[in-house]
C-alpha cells in the first residue's frame, strides 16, 4: 500500500457520498419546478425527474472516477492531504457552478413559452 492507493480509498467514499446526497436533494426539490413547467402532468414529470437524476449520477460519478487516473504521485502524508483537498474542492466548486446554471435555466424556461404550448 503506497500513499496513492490509500488516497484513492479515502477519496472514493467521500466523493460518492457527496454526489449521491446532492443528487438526491436536487431530485426532491426540483420536482415542484418540473410540475410547474409541465402543467401538473405527474407521470411524465416523475419519469423526467428519474432520468435527470440518473444522468446526473452517471456523468458526475464518471468524472469523479476518471480523476483518479490523472492523480499525481504522492510521497508523504502532507502531499496526500493537499491533493485530496484540492481535488475534492475542485469537484464541489464544479457542482456549485452547475447548480447555479441549472437554476438559471429553470428560471428561463419558466418565463419562456418554449414548453408551454
Amino acid at each position: 500500500m503506497n500513499y496513492n492507493i490509500i488516497t484513492y480509498y479515502i477519496y472514493l467514499p467521500i466523493i460518492s457520498f457527496i454526489m449521491v446526497k446532492i443528487g438526491w436533494l436536487f431530485y426532491k426539490n426540483g420536482e415542484v419546478f418540473l410540475l410547474n413547467l409541465f402543467h401538473n402532468n405527474a407521470a411524465l414529470v416523475k419519469s423526467i425527474n428519474n432520468l435527470l437524476l440518473i444522468g446526473y449520477y452517471l456523468t458526475n460519478i464518471g468524472y469523479a472516477i476518471i480523476t483518479i487516473s490523472y492523480w499525481e504521485n504522492l510521497t508523504s502524508a502532507i502531499e496526500m492531504i493537499n491533493s485530496l483537498s484540492k481535488t475534492i474542492g475542485k469537484i464541489i466548486l464544479l457542482l456549485a457552478i452547475m447548480h447555479y446554471n441549472n437554476i438559471f435555466w429553470l428560471r428561463q424556461l419558466n418565463n419562456s413559452k418554449l414548453l408551454n404550448h
Binding site: S47, T59, S69
Partner: protein, 130 residues
C-alpha cells in the same frame, strides 16, 4: 499466469460495465414508456414496440462500445504491473465509459423531448386545419 494483472483488470471491468449498461437501459426505457405513449397519442401497442426497438438499439450501441474500448494498451507481458497502475487504468476506462453512458442518456432524453414537441405540433396544425 502471464500478465495476470491485465486479466484481473478485464475481469473487474467487464461485469461492472455490463451490469451498469443493463441497469441504465432498464431504467431509461421504463421511464421512456410515458414519453412514447404521449408521442403516439395513446396507441399503446405501437408505443411499446417502438420503446422495445429503441432499447435493443441502446444495448447494442453501448455494450458494443464497452467491448471495443476494453483492451489495455502499452503493457508488455514481462513487465509486472503494480496495483496502483491497475487502479488508474481501470478508473480511466470505467469513468470514461460512465460519462459516455450519461451523454447517451441525455441524448435519448433529448430525442424523447423532440418527438413529444413534434407530435404536439402536428396535433395543433391538424386542429387548425379542421
Amino acid at each position: 499466469m502471464e500478465n495476470s494483472k491485465i486479466v484481473i483488470g478485464y475481469a473487474i471491468y467487464l461485469p461492472i460495465v455490463i451490469v451498469l449498461t443493463i441497469y441504465i437501459s432498464k431504467m431509461l426505457f421504463k421511464n421512456g414508456k410515458h414519453f412514447m405513449i404521449d408521442i403516439f397519442r395513446g396507441k399503446e401497442d405501437i408505443a411499446l414496440a417502438t420503446n422495445k426497438l429503441f432499447e435493443i438499439g441502446f444495448y447494442l450501441i453501448n455494450i458494443g462500445f464497452a467491448l471495443y474500448i476494453m483492451k489495455i494498451y502499452g503493457y508488455s507481458s514481462n513487465y509486472d504491473m503494480s496495483n496502483q497502475t491497475l487502479m488508474e487504468i481501470l478508473s480511466k476506462k470505467i469513468g470514461g465509459y460512465t460519462i459516455y453512458l450519461g451523454v447517451m442518456l441525455f441524448l435519448n432524453l433529448y430525442l424523447f423531448f423532440r418527438g413529444r414537441s413534434k407530435s404536439r405540433m402536428t396535433i395543433k396544425t391538424k386542429n387548425f386545419i379542421v
